[in-house]
Assembly symmetry: C2
Homo-oligomer: 461 residues x 2
Amino acid sequence: GEPEGPVVKTAIPGPRSLAMLSEMKTIQISDAVQLFADYSKSIGNYLFDVDGNILLDVYTQISSVPLGYNHPELLDVLQDKENIRTFINRPALGVFPGENYPQRVYNSLLRVAPKGHTEVTTMACGSCSNENAYKAIFVWYRRKQRGDAAYTPEEETSCIMNQSPGASDLTLMSFKGAFHGRTFGTLITTHTKPVHKLDIPTMDWPIGTFPRYKYPLEEFVRENEEEDRRCLAEVEELFERYNKRGKTVAGVVIEPIQSEGGDHHASPAFFQQLQRIAKKNGAALLIDEVQTGGGTTGEFWCHDHFNLDHPVDIVTYSKKMLVGGYFSLPEFRPREGYRIFNTWMGEPSKVILLEKVIDVIKRDKLIENVKVTGDILLNGIKDLGQRYPNLVKNVRGRGTFCAFDCDSMAKRDQLVDQLKVEGVQTGGAGPVAVRLRPSLVFQPHHAAIFLDRLQKALNKM
Amino acid sequence: GEPEGPVVKTAIPGPRSLAMLSEMKTIQISDAVQLFADYSKSIGNYLFDVDGNILLDVYTQISSVPLGYNHPELLDVLQDKENIRTFINRPALGVFPGENYPQRVYNSLLRVAPKGHTEVTTMACGSCSNENAYKAIFVWYRRKQRGDAAYTPEEETSCIMNQSPGASDLTLMSFKGAFHGRTFGTLITTHTKPVHKLDIPTMDWPIGTFPRYKYPLEEFVRENEEEDRRCLAEVEELFERYNKRGKTVAGVVIEPIQSEGGDHHASPAFFQQLQRIAKKNGAALLIDEVQTGGGTTGEFWCHDHFNLDHPVDIVTYSKKMLVGGYFSLPEFRPREGYRIFNTWMGEPSKVILLEKVIDVIKRDKLIENVKVTGDILLNGIKDLGQRYPNLVKNVRGRGTFCAFDCDSMAKRDQLVDQLKVEGVQTGGAGPVAVRLRPSLVFQPHHAAIFLDRLQKALNKM
Ligand code: FES
């Protein structure tokens, strides 16, 4: 079982972590390494490191651990002899899927399909999920334009040499502060830190403004509605401007909460109106649920909070879903094989694990747990915000997907460090935010420990 | 153990495969599916399908199975309780690596590092391996230009909005017929089939010509040398033209054997000269060993055949290596963390499996086996080429990485189908080639079975 609370015995990173780090530095750049973990001992919400420190983990490998560490039922999956074979025989899923693979997809991904969705494509990480969703949008858009006409010989020969008309001039709209990945296509739509983008060639695609709200929301209703209007007007203007320039906007990609960019939220009304504007322009709406999906916001998909008029055209997932990919409406299915394809097309061993994860989420009512725990967490942080107004500002969240701002980057970094001294692993997001990304088994008593340690850390600042 | 030979009981796909396929078609596009496999029963070089057919597999999941199916020592890896925990606790490797991870990398990837290499970065598939290698090249090139100067504020703010000077106008040279992946960046450098590229926005980067040789090589020495000269002159000309236009060529990416494009080989002299031209132009040379790496050509890395003057700047790998990534010379290490980064940065469970794979390759002298078996295979196919000159042309290969051409795409497709009827799973490549990609445990007696079945298939055409 879990320990009763965090235990901190050394500085973090401790001497053993530092020794391994100096080894690792001879092999590769290791500037982002915070500690070396002991994944044999780590359990539930507690991350053990190689120096004997035990941290309450509310960051969970950049939000990618659904049931905590070493969940007994996931360990059981690997006791099954048949399952083990799936872990060592990775197929080219698009060509030679294994026995009953469609059934496995029904029992896992389709069991939690977003509203209105019956189709799913599997990929291996958040980047290839988005990259391929973008491709599906461009293929869909050109098919709408082309109608039933076949590709012309000129299209076929020109595209091979990166020329029009085969290569299109279509674009995809993204938002300032967005993060969708770091491969070339997703990087065109990522707008977080310079270090992510400097020196890399890119394309001129439209970039809108994601709302920046004033908190607490209930005190700034009018200002925030005005912010929505301003951002939506800009979206309309960008459609017009890019379409007119022949850089037709085929779709819009957006996070339901801008996560890496600093946990920026937008209202359901904003997303409803954004979907209407996209539809009016014949463009697809892609909601990137790579970080928000899987139950952590108190709904299985964060956009379930938004009451949209229509199902979302494409929803991408990864991280807590263990496998990557996208749900898409039937019209986004390409007509030809190999339009959306790669060697592995995801991984069945991850689907087997996901099947069990979803069983546990349903049986243990973990989404309900996220709602209850999230309320305690958010209210507790808001209370601390009253006492430490410069260190805990703009408190916001859905479920346990919570964040707050410090009044400077230096203070934020210092607080994240101090929290580690108190035995809590959090993470920064954007310039000044502290983000919480606990797993779905983070319960009220874990929230109480977190709030206690946060208060101690704030006291020492 | 393995069966004594292939067994074909039904048409392929058989009735059970077809039933699962019709289920799968309700979920996603499934046009590339050939059969549903039984990965519990599959063993060594034999792929079992759900209809009781047993195929000698010389295609191995698009060249991605190093030791055949269900290798006993890989099954053993998953008997170890500590190892099992690595399979269910996937870390964010760049931030919280597990205990002794550097040691694991030494025992696996660095044990087989290409000549002159001591650094390695892990990724998860061939596409992100190449995408990140491209980024490393652009970052390296701009650093050479910038010297010790810091980024200017203008670079920092412009890159976020996809504008110069922060976003560079650098380019990467690729070759007609090349395949490096299907994500946006790699797709810019992929030039195989229209279906891979149609409708997707791309960039104008230089595209050279990869040699197309006449076979048998010993009869066309002069012609093929002339072909090398022609292609290399074009590379020089492209450097000049793009550099002059301000689309400076920062690097060249090339496969040691163009694999998806149809198994096109180029001479060691071509690669030696290409490296010299890249160096003269201050550009990096990236050799993409995603399909050729891991021992299948009779050397661990295919470019070991080329006797190059210098170590290759960057070598990418994936597929048979189970994990993806790249080896790079020290000057390609970015100065700042997070330049090359993503959530998972590969996967430790794959590294554990790779460690065992490399143990077995060394202990069982599998590269030696590839050489011996490859000779038998290539000579046997050449013999058949004498008897069936229209169906077996341009026989070529290194190790067991062999191919031959039919005189039309229709004939090629028919032969691949007929081979399945005879109990052999091969694959097409490019418009007219049949490619062989057996695992490293493919032995002389398997080659004999293959040649026997190939002859039977040719007889029936
Ligand atoms: S791009 Fe997703 S796993 Fe490689």
